[in-house]
C-alpha cells in the first residue's frame, strides 16, 4: 500500500473553497454543464464538492471534472476511471464533465506530448482516495465508530455492526470535513477499474450529434467572422477593396488586423506566418464565404523582419524571418546538399567515428526524405471571443489554454486574470491546436467590433495558413567490419526549417563509434508540433535504415536490433542514452511472438520499433501488393506504455496512431511553388481512407510495474518504416522518400 501526503496539493488541487476546513459548494443543475443536465440522475439540485475533481449528489451521482482538454484520447473516461478506482465507486454512478479552466486549482491544463494520463495519475488517485476518506469519516462520525472500521465498496459505506449508507447520503457531511493529511492508495492487485475496459462516457453524446465542439458554440448576439490571409508565404496585404464587399448581404464590416504590436515578445507557441490579415464580419457563414471569394486584394512581397521570441523557460532570442517566395524543389536541393557536404553542428560523438568509417570493410549509406505535412484536424480551426473593455471570455477548442492565455492577453492588452477561457471538445488536435493565432485573431476582431464573435477557418484557410510538420532530409551511414559487425554509425540530419534532433536515442549507446550532426534550413514557412514531433519521421529514417543494414549484414531484422539492445543494456556506450534497453527489447519480442514472425515464410512482413514519449512500440506490418498498391492484411503492435488504464480506449488510440502513420507516409504531402501551398483542400491533399487502411490491427501490451506513460503518439512513428520494410519485401524497392505513393506510381508505370 502506498501512503501519499496530500499537503502539496491542498491549496490548489484539493481544496473545495477558500474558507478554512472546506465548504460545500453547490450549484444549480440548470447551470451545470450540458453533459450532466442531459444525463441527470433524478436528483436534488445540489452537488457536494469534495475537491477540485469530484462532486457527489445526494442521489449518489458522481461527477468527475476532467481538467485536460479532450480531443479523442479518451480522458473523459480514463480520468474518471482513475479517481473512481480509489473512491471505491460504483462505475455506473460516474459521469464526467470538462473542468473549468482554472490555473489556481489545476496544474498543466494542456493536452500534448502524450502526458495527460501519466502526469495526472497520482493526483487523480489522490483525489479519489481523499474523497473516500472524507466519506468514511462522515459515516464514522454519524455512526459513532472508528473510521478504520468503516468499509467502502461500490459507492456504499458499511460497518460490521450492520449500518450502511450510500455515498450520496454522506456527501453533504463529507464535503465540510477537512481534507486528510495523508491517504493510503490501493495496491495495484486490488484494482477493479484501472486496467479494465470501460465504454467512453461521452459515447452517447457523440452518436447523437450533440453540440460538443468549438465549432458548435452558439452564444447570444454572436456575429461570425472569417479571415483572409495572403495566398503565399512571403506575401502580405498591400491594398484591398473593402467597400464592395461591405455592400454584400449579411456583411457587417471588413478591416485588417495587425497580429503583432511592435514590441511584443512572442511566446514560444505564438507562431503565425501572416502578421496582417483581413477580417470579414457578418451574420452567416455562407455569406462570409461568398464575401471572402469576392474580396479583391493586392498582395506585396514582405521584407525580411525580426522579432523577439521567448522559449518555454522564458529565455529570449531574436528570430529573423527571411524574405522570399520559396519552392519545395529548392528546399529539397538545399537539404540534399546539406546532408552531403554542409556545415553541421555535432550533437553527439562517441569514440572515433571517422576512423571506424575509414577502416570499414563495408559502408552502408542511404538518404531518407519527408515533405511538409498539414495536420488537417477534421474540425477546422475556430474560436469564440467576447472582448469587453475590461474583461474577455474566450470559448473554443484548444490543446492548452494555459499556453496561450498570456499570449492572447498581450495581444489584446488586457491583464491575463481578466480573461476567462472555456475549453470545448476538439475535433482532433495532433499538435495543431497548441498555437494561439486564431484565438488571437478572433479576440482582436471582437475587440474591434465590440460584439461576441465566432471565427471559423475554411478548410482552405486551415490548410494554407502554415504551422506544418517540417520537411526533413536525413542521411544515415553505418560502417561494418569484415565480420559484419557495426563499428560506426553516423547521422546527418537536415530539416526545413527545423532538423530532427534525437542524438541520444537508439542505436546510440549500442555502437562504439557514433556521430550525430544536424543543421536547419531557414524558411518563412511556419512549422509546429505534429503528432510525435520529429519522431514521426526520425523513426522512418532510422528504422528503414536498420532494415537495410540488417540485410547488408545478413541478419534477421529483429535479432539484429535485439543484439544491439543487449549491448546497450550490458555495456552501454555513453551515459545519457534516452531509452531503457530491456523495455525496448520486450516490445520487439512480444510483437515477434504475436505475429509469428519467425514462421513468416513468404509473407511480406516488415518490422520497426521506436521509443518516444516514455513508451516503447514495435509494429509488424503484413501486406500484399494489389494493383501496385499495398493491401495491409494486418498490423501487430506491441506496446509498453506502463499501466494501461482503459484497455479498449488504449487499443482504439493505438489503432488510430497506426492508421495515421499509414496515412501520412503513404499520401501526406504539402508542397510549395513560389510560396504558394499546392494543396488547398481534401480533394487533392490525400488523407488515408477506409479502403486504404489496415484490415486488422492487433494491439498487445507489455505487462509490468511501471505507471502510465505516453500512448497517443508512440504507436505512430514505427508504422511508416514497418510498412516501407514490408513493401520492400513485396516489391524489391526501398521506399526512402515519403509519401510512398509517389514511388508506387512510378513503379506501376
Amino acid at each position: 500500500m502506498e501512503i501519499l501526503k496530500t499537503s502539496f496539493g491542498r491549496r490548489s488541487f484539493l481544496k473545495a473553497s477558500a474558507a478554512g476546513g472546506g465548504l460545500a459548494l453547490s450549484f444549480n443543475l440548470a447551470t451545470a454543464p450540458n453533459a450532466l443536465a442531459a444525463d441527470a440522475k433524478s436528483a436534488p439540485s445540489e452537488w457536494f464538492e469534495l475537491n477540485a475533481v469530484l462532486s457527489i449528489q445526494p442521489s449518489g451521482a458522481i461527477q468527475v471534472r476532467v481538467q485536460n482538454p479532450e480531443f479523442g484520447q479518451g480522458l473523459m473516461t480514463t480520468f474518471p476511471m482513475i479517481a473512481a478506482e480509489e473512491l471505491e465507486a460504483n462505475w455506473e454512478d460516474v459521469t464526467s464533465v470538462t473542468a473549468p479552466y482554472d490555473q489556481s486549482r489545476y496544474k498543466m491544463q494542456l493536452s500534448g506530448g502524450s502526458w495527460s494520463t501519466s502526469m495526472n495519475y497520482p493526483g487523480l488517485r489522490m483525489a479519489g482516495a481523499t474523497a473516500l476518506h472524507m466519506l468514511k469519516t462522515a459515516a464514522a462520525n454519524a455512526w459513532n465508530v472508528p473510521v478504520e472500521d468503516v468499509n467502502a465498496a461500490n459507492s456504499v459505506l458499511s460497518h460490521s455492526g450492520g449500518k450502511t449508507a450510500t455515498y450520496g447520503e454522506m456527501a453533504a457531511a463529507a464535503a465540510i470535513l477537512p481534507v486528510p493529511e495523508k491517504v493510503a492508495l490501493k495496491d495495484k492487485k486490488d484494482f477493479s477499474i484501472i486496467g479494465t475496459s470501460r465504454k467512453n462516457l461521452t459515447g452517447s453524446q457523440v452518436v447523437k450529434g450533440d453540440s460538443l465542439f468549438g465549432i458548435d458554440v452558439r452564444e447570444k448576439d454572436m456575429l461570425r467572422a472569417v479571415v483572409v490571409h495572403a495566398p503565399a508565404f512571403g506575401l502580405t496585404v498591400d491594398s484591398f477593396d473593402a467597400e464592395s464587399v461591405k455592400r454584400m448581404p449579411g456583411i457587417h464590416d471588413v478591416f485588417t488586423i495587425k497580429m503583432y504590436p511592435d514590441d511584443l515578445v512572442r511566446g514560444f507557441s505564438d507562431v503565425a506566418a501572416f502578421r496582417e490579415v483581413i477580417a470579414i464580419v457578418g451574420d452567416h457563414t455562407w455569406q462570409l464565404m461568398k464575401a471572402k471569394k469576392a474580396l479583391k486584394v493586392n498582395w506585396k512581397v514582405e521584407d525580411s523582419y525580426s522579432f523577439t521570441s521567448s522559449d518555454f523557460f522564458g529565455n529570449q532570442n531574436k528570430v529573423t524571418v527571411p524574405k522570399g517566395l520559396e519552392d519545395t524543389a529548392t528546399h529539397n536541393a538545399i537539404m540534399a546538399a546539406m546532408v552531403e557536404t554542409g556545415e553541421m553542428e555535432t550533437k553527439r560523438k562517441d569514440g572515433d567515428p571517422m576512423a571506424a568509417f575509414a577502416n570499414a570493410a563495408k559502408v552502408v549509406e542511404h538518404t531518407y526524405h519527408a515533405p511538409f505535412l498539414a495536420h488537417n484536424t477534421l474540425e477546422p480551426m475556430n474560436f469564440y471571443a467576447d472582448v469587453k473593455e475590461d474583461s474577455a471570455m474566450l470559448i473554443g477548442p484548444h490543446q492548452g489554454p494555459m499556453l496561450i492565455h498570456n499570449t492572447v492577453a498581450a495581444h489584446i492588452g488586457l491583464p491575463a486574470e481578466k480573461i476567462d477561457f472555456k475549453m470545448t471538445r476538439m475535433g482532433g488536435g495532433f499538435g495543431r491546436r497548441l498555437y494561439p493565432h486564431w484565438a488571437t485573431e478572433v479576440s482582436l476582431i471582437s475587440q474591434r467590433v465590440k460584439r461576441p464573435v465566432h471565427l471559423i477557418y475554411t478548410r482552405e484557410d486551415d490548410m494554407t495558413v502554415g504551422v506544418y510538420r517540417p520537411s526533413y532530409t536525413i542521411k544515415m551511414r553505418a560502417a561494418l567490419d569484415a565480420n559484419n559487425k557495426i563499428i560506426g554509425y553516423h547521422v546527418r540530419s537536415a530539416g526545413t526549417p527545423e532538423a530532427c534532433s534525437f542524438p541520444n536515442r537508439f542505436p546510440a549507446g549500442a555502437i562504439d563509434n557514433y556521430l550525430w550532426e544536424e543543421s536547419p534550413n531557414v524558411s518563412n514557412i511556419t512549422v509546429g508540433a505534429f503528432r510525435a514531433p520529429n519522431s514521426n519521421f526520425m523513426a522512418s529514417a532510422e528504422q528503414s535504415f536498420l532494415d537495410e543494414l540488417a540485410e547488408a549484414m545478413g541478419a534477421d531484422p529483429i535479432q539484429m536490433r535485439l543484439d544491439l539492445l543487449k549491448r546497450a543494456q550490458e555495456n552501454p556506450v555513453g551515459t545519457d542514452n534516452d531509452y531503457d534497453a530491456v523495455r525496448y527489447a520486450s516490445v520487439l519480442e512480444l510483437a515477434r511472438d504475436k505475429s509469428d514472425w519467425n514462421n513468416r515464410g513468404d509473407k511480406n512482413m516488415g518490422v520497426a520499433a521506436y521509443f518516444c514519449h516514455n513508451s516503447y512500440c514495435c509494429n509488424i506490418v503484413d501486406i500484399d501488393m494489389k494493383n501496385g498498391l499495398p493491401v495491409i492484411n494486418s498490423v501487430t503492435s506491441a506496446l509498453d506504455c506502463g499501466q494501461v488504464v482503459n484497455y479498449e480506449g488504449a487499443i482504439n488510440m493505438a489503432q488510430g496512431g497506426i492508421v495515421d502513420g499509414v496515412g501520412i507516409s503513404m499520401f501526406g504531402e504539402m508542397t510549395f511553388v513560389e510560396g504558394q501551398p499546392q494543396h488547398k483542400n481534401l480533394d487533392t491533399y490525400r488523407m488515408v481512407r477506409i479502403n486504404e487502411s489496415p484490415r486488422a490491427i492487433d494491439v498487445h501490451f507489455v505487462k509490468n510495474e511501471h505507471g502510465p506513460t505516453g500512448l497517443g503518439e508512440p504507436p505512430m512513428p514505427p508504422t511508416p518504416p514497418a510498412l516501407a520494410n514490408a513493401m520492400y519485401k513485396a516489391t524489391g524497392h526501398r521506399f526512402r522518400n515519403q509519401p510512398f505513393i509517389t514511388d508506387l506510381e512510378t513503379l506501376k508505370s
Binding site: E70, G203, L378, G429, R459, V659, D683, I690, N691
Partner: protein, 153 residues
C-alpha cells in the same frame, strides 16, 4: 433572401436564406442544428452527410434551393425516437468507435444509408461505400466492425 419550407427530421421548418446556401449552413447557422459537421465544404470528407429521401448526400454540396419537398434526415433525427437509437448508433456505442467524434455523425449517416440499400454488406461493399468519409483519428477498423454488427441487428 428567399423563404423555403423544408422537411427536416419529419418536421416542417421554414427558413429565410440565400438560394445558393448549402443545406449544411442552413442546418448549422440558420437552425443551430450542429450535429451535421463542416469538414471541407468541397464534398471530399463526408462530415456533412445527411439523408435526402434516405440516400446519403453531402450537404455542403446541396443548395437549399434544390431540396424542394424532399425528406431530409440529419444525425439529430437518425434515432427512432427519444429512447430508441438507430442500430448504427447502437453498434457505434457497442464498438466504442469514436475518438474525437467529429467525423462520426457523417460516418453514421453514410453507414445507415448503406445498410438501407444493402442490409448485408461485405468488407468490399463497406470500403466502397464509406470511402467518402474521412476519419482523421483513424477509427476505420472499428467502423467496419460496427457496420457489420448493425447489419445483424
Amino acid at each position: 433572401m428567399t423563404t423555403y419550407s423544408l422537411n427536416i427530421n419529419n418536421q416542417n421548418i421554414v427558413v429565410d436564406v440565400d438560394p445558393d446556401t448549402p443545406m449544411l449552413w442552413v442546418l448549422r447557422d440558420s437552425l443551430d442544428m450542429v450535429g451535421t459537421k463542416f469538414g471541407c465544404g468541397a464534398g471530399a470528407c463526408g462530415a456533412c452527410t445527411v439523408h435526402i429521401n434516405g440516400a446519403a448526400v453531402r450537404s455542403c454540396q446541396l443548395p437549399v434551393s434544390a431540396v424542394g419537398e424532399a425528406n431530409i434526415t440529419t444525425i439529430e433525427g437518425l434515432a427512432y425516437d427519444a429512447t430508441k437509437l438507430h442500430p448504427v448508433q447502437e453498434a457505434w456505442l457497442a464498438h466504442d468507435v469514436a475518438q474525437c467524434g467529429y467525423c462520426q455523425p457523417g460516418q453514421m449517416m453514410s453507414a445507415a444509408a448503406l445498410l438501407s440499400q444493402n442490409p448485408n454488406p461485405s468488407d468490399a461493399d463497406i470500403d466502397a461505400f464509406m470511402q467518402g468519409n474521412i476519419c482523421r483519428c483513424g477509427t476505420y477498423t472499428r467502423i467496419r466492425e460496427a457496420i457489420k454488427t448493425a447489419a445483424k441487428a
